[in-house]
């Protein structure tokens, strides 16, 4: 369920490292909790992200949630497809439903995040 090459946060974001950049999205658990996602507010390309800064807002029919930068960096691209098809976050949260790409400031920050196994254990704790 949760890809091994990703790293995760306890706030249910994931990051996948590709060179100096990272692709960021929300986890399958998060999309399931939010329900039907209908709108995503994206940041501007070039925006500098401090640790745990909001990179956008995800709205489902019922709720509004911030999505935070898993690690500091600079936004290099946003997933424009979400403008018309926000439900990609529900349908393919770990793939086509990515939210932003960031230039990672320090890869050590990524290493400090949860592995897939640790995240799954963390979820088990939440569900019980």
């Amino acid at each position: 369920m949760y890809p091994n090459e990703f790293r995760y946060t306890k706030e249910h974001e994931w990051i996948k490292v590709e060179g100096d950049e990272g692709v960021v999205g929300i986890t399958d658990f998060a999309q399931h909790q939010l329900g039907d996602i209908i709108f995503v507010e994206l940041p501007a390309v070039g925006k500098e992200l401090a640790p745990r800064q909001s990179i956008g807002v995800v709205e489902s029919v019922k709720s509004v949630s911030d999505v935070y930068a898993p690690v500091p960096g600079v936004v290099t691209a946003v997933n424009e497809a979400l403008g018309a098809t926000a439900d990609l976050l529900n349908k393919d949260p770990h793939g086509q439903g990515w939210i932003v790409r960031i230039k990672i400031k320090d890869k050590k920050d990524v290493e400090a995040l949860l592995s897939a196994g640790d995240y799954e254990k963390y979820l088990e704790g939440l569900e019980h």
Binding site: I38, E59, V61
Partner: protein
């Protein structure tokens, strides 16, 4: 938290449970959008046992109901139901409610869960001078709502009541799956459908059989999330959002439930004054013109001034656009008027549009 008699069944169906007005209730099962669309196109089953019920009986029952409400309960014959309100002397809302005429000296009132105890206290507190008995029946009563175009098809084989003969806003007593029930052709979704009341201590078989028989036809169990989006598309009022003890019946655009020729009733002098002098604000429907969702309490600006907060607001699953209700100054209430809703610090364009947002084809 209080639990309805169907609580275990919601857990079994995987309902996401939340606290609502002191009750543990399902907010969704399969998702708000699929549940919403099931009600619009097939059928949906709601547990609404958290609603409040009050029985009014006695020689003065009609006179008393007439005093407490703006609509004309005197027009009702046994077997009919009416949408009305409990009014304050200011013609604001203690609550909105349904009145069931059970007999010439017997009226059954169905009120909101959020107001159940407050309403009963209000009702019981106004009996002086009337020969009536009021009885709080909320705990003993379970209520299900079966809504959607297939509601009659699904329910008819399970009841001895002739549903085809039941007109909208009428009720009948009979058996549903062997349980004594009162069934009315009413609801809170804008679709055809029924509400089923029973005081049977074990009503679970009604829920589980409706799910079992309706499932293959597209029936889904529906949570509070879709209940809210369905009622808002049809512009049915939600107490606490759209109406409250701070909004008058005329401001809420509910003049159709006010019958001034029926005699005196609580709030009538204020209604007459507002009719003479005109309103300063009125509840209107709107859509956002720019992307976003307008949520309740978001600030609303008209002609550059903050004038209100969003009353109700959501994303309409059927119309696939953000819609809402807001009290605007009277000069801003014409269809087409533009104003702004502040969403996370950003002013977003909105426009007054006709309501209801959705009306079912008959």
């Amino acid at each position: 938290m209080k639990k309805t008699r169907f609580n275990e069944l919601h857990h079994k169906l995987g309902g996401k449970m939340i606290e609502f007005c002191g009750w543990e209730m399902p907010v969704e099962y399969s998702g708000i959008i699929p549940e919403h669309m099931a009600v619009r196109t097939k059928a949906g089953l709601f547990d609404v046992s958290h609603m409040g019920e009050v029985m009014v009986t006695g020689k003065d029952a009609l006179k008393y109901v007439q005093w407490l409400t703006p609509n004309d309960a005197g027009k009702l014959v046994p077997g009919q139901v009416q949408y009305t309100a409990l009014m304050t002397p200011e013609s604001a809302f203690v609550d909105d409610m349904l009145v069931y005429c059970m007999g010439p000296e017997e009226y059954f009132l169905v009120v909101n869960a959020a107001n159940d105890d407050k309403d009963f206290a209000w009702i019981a507190g106004h009996t002086k001078g009337f020969d009536v008995k009021v009885e709080h029946q909320s705990d003993a009563t379970s209520q299900l709502a079966l809504q959607g175009p297939l509601a009659e098809t699904i329910l008819q084989p399970l009841t001895d009541i002739d549903l085809a003969a039941m007109k909208s806003f009428h009720w009948a007593k009979g058996k549903v799956l062997g349980k004594a029930c009162l069934v009315s052709r009413t609801g809170y979704t804008g679709e055809d459908g029924f509400e089923i009341y029973t005081t049977d201590p074990e009503p679970q078989v009604i829920w589980s059989t409706l799910i079992e028989k309706g499932g293959p036809l597209g029936l889904l169990p529906i949570g509070l999330g879709a209940r809210d989006t369905l009622r808002l598309e049809s512009k049915l009022m939600l107490y606490g959002n759209d109406i409250s003890d701070k909004t008058t019946v005329l401001e809420a655009n509910l003049k159709w439930i006010v019958k001034l020729d029926k005699g005196d009733f609580l709030g009538k002098p204020v209604i007459e004054k507002q009719l003479r002098e005109g309103l300063t604000r009125k509840l209107v429907g709107f859509e956002l013109v720019e992307p976003g969702v307008a949520r309740p309490h978001y600030p609303v600006y008209y002609k550059g001034q903050k004038v209100a907060e969003v009353a109700s607001g959501t994303f309409s699953p059927l119309l696939k656009k953000p819609i809402g209700l807001v009290y605007l100054p009277i000069d801003g209430t014409a269809v087409g008027t533009e104003f702004e809703v502040e969403i996370r610090g950003k002013r977003t364009k909105a426009r007054v549009i006709p309501t209801p947002f959705y009306k079912r084809a008959k």
